[in-house]
Symmetry: C2
Subunit: 474 residues, 2 copies
């Protein structure tokens, strides 16, 4: 039997140090790259060998290829002038916490398969609930608790499954969901993940009711929700889930959660709050109003992997009553039975999510919270909010531009008064320059640009330069 060419410990140290140094260098030279990759379809593949190697190569060759073959095809999400979509922060503590998870290589599917993976996750989500001043109902010492999901899409999906479990008294898992019998409600501004969840969960997109928003604030209108629910109930359709948004994708609108929750609960529906991007901002006391109404929510999701310095994937998801969630998702085959699970004294997180397997994701969030502290996380959020406010004041001073909505936290939505074509041409021009990257949305039928500040490397000068470039190309 031939020996397996595993990397030796000495070589792992050598190459590992080289990768760490490469990352540190990469972060120091972020500004030397065009933000948006300039390659065309197929360019990256054309630079790769058609066939896998028969004989192993040194890792140093892989690292060299990152530089020459991969980086040209990378859009630099950490670039200080990346203002597209929502941010996806990384940070030193997070990268190293994640590296520890890779090195340990444990599976946290059950408490028994690595108790620390489960208990640190429960603990850190309680910590985060404290930092964000979330209602006690989401803490693990009562009926609720937190868990790390892959993404806010997964959170919306499992919230829907828990809601179906509750509204059908557990029959949905066995009997399935009859299309046309159930309805889900969310604002027309809500992220597409809710529509996707309806499709995945078998309700179909026809079951999704889009609630009109106030044309000025783009917040969901409670009266419209009530009208939709009333119509459904009259028709014999069961309201299952209402999804409220705190910080919509388009313009960062914040729905009136308390009012929506009251209407949802009166109809027997579950109230899930998607605060994927904005929720973490509640780490700052002056933004605690973001949590208004959460004490009536059944579940809540926000993504440290967006704006809280923790690399993907890390969606923090809390439920007020974990029994519905576990009821919807628990299946216990013989090969997963164990004494700890049978005792009922432990949490098995596989029953809180779609997949079975789980990475030790709590390590990176733990590292971030410990290394920044509450103080550091607040400074981080405040800095971006202040930069966005400053950018908005500049937009107001130029007659060619207008704000589409008031700035929301670190997001500014604006457009050219000259109209859609001019606004889109401006976006293409600045993105094509490689000097910055921002994306668009459509509000009330017209195109708007979104400047979302989020990179830890973004300073005032980058926001200033973005504004100067926008003005110059307008």
């Amino acid at each position: 039997m031939s020996d397996v060419p595993h990397m030796s410990a000495a070589e792992f140290r050598r190459q590992g140090h080289a990768v760490i140094d490469w990352i540190a260098d990469y972060h120091e030279r972020l500004e030397s790259f065009p933000v948006l990759s300039q390659v065309g379809p197929g360019d990256v593949r054309a630079a790769l060998p058609a066939d896998p190697p028969e004989v192993g190569e040194p890792f140093a060759d892989v690292l060299a290829d990152i530089e020459t073959r991969i980086l040209p095809g990378v859009t630099h999400w950490q670039h200080p002038s990346f203002f597209a979509y929502f941010p996806a922060n990384v940070s030193g503590p997070s990268i190293l916490g994640d590296l520890l998870a890779a090195g340990l290589g444990v599976q946290g599917m059950l408490w028994a398969t690595s108790p620390a993976a489960t208990e640190l996750e429960t603990h850190v989500l309680d910590w985060l609930a404290t930092l964000l001043d979330l209602p006690d109902r989401f803490r693990s010492d009562g009926a609720g608790g937190g868990v790390i999901q892959h993404s806010a899409s997964d959170a919306a999906l499992v919230a829907l499954l828990a809601a179906l479990h509750r509204v059908t008294d557990g029959r949905s898992e066995h009997e399935g969901v009859a299309g046309g019998r159930f309805a889900v409600y969310t604002s027309e501004q809500t992220h597409s993940s809710v529509a996707k969840a309806c499709r995945i969960a078998g309700l179909g997109s026809d079951s999704l009711r889009l609630v009109d928003t106030d044309p000025r604030t783009l917040r969901a209108r409670p009266d419209r929700l009530r009208a939709l629910i009333d119509a459904d109930r009259t028709a014999g359709v069961v309201p299952v889930l209402v999804v409220a948004s705190i910080g919509t994708t388009g313009v960062g609108a914040v729905d009136p959660v308390a009012e929506l929750a009251a209407i949802a609960h009166e109809a027997g529906a579950w109230l899930h709050v998607d605060a994927a991007w904005a929720g973490v901002a509640a780490v700052v006391p002056e933004l605690h109003w973001l949590n208004d109404g959460l004490d009536a929510a059944d579940s809540y999701a926000t993504n440290p992997h967006k704006w809280l310095l923790t690399n993907f994937d890390c969606d923090a998801f809390w439920v007020a009553d974990r029994t519905a969630l576990v009821g919807a998702l628990s299946i216990l085959p013989e090969y997963l039975r164990n004494a700890a699970t049978d005792s009922g004294a432990v949490v098995d997180y596989r029953d809180w999510q779609v997949p079975l397997g789980r990475r030790f994701r709590a390590l990176k969030l733990w590292a971030v919270i410990r290394c920044y502290g509450g103080e550091g996380l607040r400074a981080h959020v405040r800095k971006h909010v202040a930069l966005a406010a400053e950018f908005a004041t500049w937009v107001r001073t130029d007659d060619r531009f207008e704000l589409v909505a008031p700035p929301s936290l670190s997001l500014v939505t604006f457009r050219l008064r000259a109209g859609d074509d001019a606004t889109r041409a401006l976006m293409d021009a600045v993105n094509g320059s490689g000097e910055m990257y921002l994306t668009h949305t459509v509000v009330d039928g017209t195109t708007a640009l979104r400047l979302a500040i989020g990179s830890p490397w973004t300073e005032q000068r980058h926001v200033r330069a973005a504004w100067e470039l926008l003005r110059a190309r307008a």
Copy 2:
């Protein structure tokens, strides 16, 4: 505005090198730990401060706590004497490839958001298809293609959604799935992920038909599948999906894929093959028989994160016809529109999966394939298969023990002739010793122990020691 206490580049280098060294040390001293964590429920949390820190701490303190507060609660999946469940390998190249993904921090949800993340993934899955000798239908240059999913559970779920899309001509996404109208078929030995997928997708567990297996081989019986499908069709129930297993969780049984596929297709159903653990073994020519029948499969999943040296998460999933998958999962809101997507010339992997966001997971698989080469991967698999075969010969020599099934690849299933209680007591005794860890299953009503070999650090002496311990405690 106070400055944000980001880790400096110099500090990142220093702490990063320390983490790399810690991981190298950890892997070198794996044998000094009890394989199975010996803590009780709540022990890990009790060692953690109740509240998050207000002021940031040095990362070195986090690393120190890994040693003292986390490791006691870790079950060491990389330990050479870890024989439980199925393996979850890591390797130097994989850890470093994953680290690069964390450092780059890009989102690969769309081709446009980082072309290299998409194109490297497509390319590396073609490479893996070559290495495993998969049918051409799964390659990206035709109608099919590969994608990395979070887990085999996610793969089974999206296969079911694609199957529903196809069988309903795309109506399922809109109208939902009526419980009782559709049926899914898989063997009673198949992993619980299929039952979970039926629940998540809204079909309900009542829609799942368990196909009897041959009592000797534990392979699904085609005649039983045909009978179940005929009964359903007579009753007006639509067969949607048949899941065949290559390497079941219990004993590693391999279903007759070609026969099941023919029956499935005759009934208009989709044939998905779950080869989560075993599939990667086809990297070895003498095990190409594992792929028998795959040229008739509609989709196929195997996990490099189990037995191919790539750390979690990395499920390789291929479809023969990507239009059904994309049809089932694609939703295009305005804020995700872009020229590349509109052109149709690129793949947007968000439409191949449940979540929207995606980590640059191809990097770790690329690093593994390049650093091991086909040669190295073959040596890795062959070594474990040979060790399992040797263990099985030892079991045969001791009258107190018996094999429950012939060894399957690197998995040996066996028991004490003295019966269930003795077998379970033996498992508890050896696991409680901390010297090894294995888990059980139930075959034909009786308890069996599973010895699954998979750690890169496992040598013959570890398997020998496991056998000696089992004999001593029997």
